[in-house]
Symmetry: C2
Subunit: 327 residues, 2 copies
């Protein structure tokens, strides 16, 4: 059995880290007005700005293994766009940080192509960035990427405050692992099973594990931006999975019940659970399990999505209580 902690990622410790950060910011009087949102909100001249910072995590290792560097930039931008869109924001500008052990101009170009194409799709400028050559810091051929986005919220942020009992929870499919759970997935696929990145997928031999693991993190802004008035809350399912992210937008006294079997879990997740002998709880904390975005809504969103031919699932509803129940 492989656990996320064994794979080197300790989610309990991560929770402690969040508490330490909150303490230190409070002590120095530099806290934002709200803490724990997917992005931080800053009001200026009557406009709500929202900002978020993200990395790609160890999904980058798949890019290194396969020398395919044109997707990870898109992953990062899409992740950032989703993180501010859950509060209702339109993206304004993005900035990047690329640190390489040895500056490789062709790799840099591929990464930038990813950033720029993804930004272009959502009308977001790339306002600047930092490209650092750090010898002895990253091995040759490796790099780290960080993205920072600023958006604008017209009116009040979507933050879950209007969520009521009986509201429905709609799920939009993820494209795959998106950008979390890679330390665990890599441990299972490449260490335990000793598969090569080019090995064919058992359930889809036309494609390799590399293809599956490099699928681009899906961006939900384009499909949902005209539906904001119908949405009471959104949770971008990243590290921490459905329980770890949905909890962030639930008001007190409201419980979210997510019913298993109401959506299709892609084969990659079943494979990882079986081969890694993962407990279901572990899998739901480490992976998105096929759901990239959860939306809490009253009425009208189903029609909106149906009209656009969008795939979605009704996966649960809001009840009285506390927390997230995976039933």
């Amino acid at each position: 059995m492989v656990t996320y902690r064994e794979a080197g990622v300790d989610l309990e410790k991560a929770d402690k880290a969040v508490k330490i950060i909150a303490q230190v910011l409070k002590k120095h009087g530099v806290s934002p007005s709200q803490f724990g949102l997917f992005g931080g909100i800053y009001k200026i001249s009557g406009t709500n700005l929202i900002a978020s910072a993200d990395g790609v995590g160890t999904k980058l290792k798949i890019a290194f293994m396969t020398r395919r560097h044109d997707t990870v930039g898109q992953d990062l931008v899409n992740h950032c766009v989703n993180d501010i869109f859950v509060h209702g924001a339109d993206p304004l500008f993005f900035m990047d940080y690329i640190a390489m052990g040895k500056l490789d101009l062709e790799v840099l170009r591929s990464i930038m192509e990813g950033f720029a194409s993804a930004c272009s799709r959502v009308g977001c400028l790339i306002l600047g960035g930092e490209t650092a050559e750090m010898p002895g810091f990253y091995p040759e051929g490796e790099y780290d990427l960080v993205g920072f986005i600023v958006g604008k919220i017209d009116g009040e942020p979507i933050d879950g405050r209007d969520i009521r009992e009986g509201d429905r929870i709609i799920a939009l499919p993820s494209s795959g692992l998106h950008t979390n759970g890679y330390s665990l997935a890599r441990k299972i696929i490449f260490e335990k099973l000793r598969l090569s990145p080019s090995a064919p997928l058992p359930w889809d031999p036309e494609h390799s594990f590399a293809d599956e693991l490099l699928k681009v993190h899906r961006q939900y802004y384009t499909v949902l931006k005209d539906a904001r008035a119908l949405i009471k809350g959104m949770a971008h399912i990243t590290g921490g999975g459905i329980p770890g992210n949905l909890i962030r937008i639930l008001p007190r006294g409201k419980k979210a019940v997510i019913r298993k079997g109401t959506w299709e879990v892609p084969e990659i997740f079943n494979f990882l659970i079986k081969e890694g002998e993962l407990s279901e709880e572990e899998a739901f904390r480490a992976f998105n399990m096929g759901i990239g975005m959860l939306i809490i809504t009253g009425d009208g969103l189903e029609e909106y999505l149906e009209e656009r031919g969008e795939k979605f699932w009704m996966v649960g509803e809001i009840e009285k209580g506390e927390g997230v129940e995976i039933a």
Copy 2:
């Protein structure tokens, strides 16, 4: 003789990288209106926002060697604050990215203390951030830090457009290396000379090389913020040194002449030049040589600085011509 390129940092390649980035952004229609500034400017509801992204570079290695993690956060915030202040901005909010091989909560706390204390000093909130545990990516005990800052410019940005022949160039001292040139400095001190971080400085045996190399990057916002009306242009002296940074704010037809001998070069730079057998040109590109901020001004700034008891040097003036001449 040790060159910056031998130390693994290739400034010519870095220039090519900037060109590639500009090309890709243009191709996808996501370029900012101005390119090459210290920060990127975005206009919203009549307000000029400005943003910048930075890392600490391999100065972090000194923190790892000495297990002193309370200064690098300050370095990063101060670097970011300076980068947007050169265009006249007040800092609004900062976001951080901390990536560790293994999450160490005490190290995290020290880093955050650095971020928060430096932000508090300039009235900047920390709006959020990302703390990533990336096993197999960074060795245990190592990490990378990235900072993003957003500020606001009242009125027009300071960008050098009003620089005239005869304007004077005033320098404010750096505290030491600040955050650039560390790959070269480490190569000379720890590889060539095989000194230990705790070795005493030859010119100041009360302090060690670690003390010298961890001196906090100085922040110039506090001392200069009330003098903005007197300033025509500022250059934050970071990677690329005096020539690489001063050039960024000179209008066409204006040359900056910097006269050697007009300021005190701190001992650390003389030591690095001597022991590394650096050419003067190499040293001026890799290090700040004792100057952290260059300010181009007409009248009044000397009195302003004298009244406040601030140390400064008159290091040159603007002439007809192109480029930066170190005379």
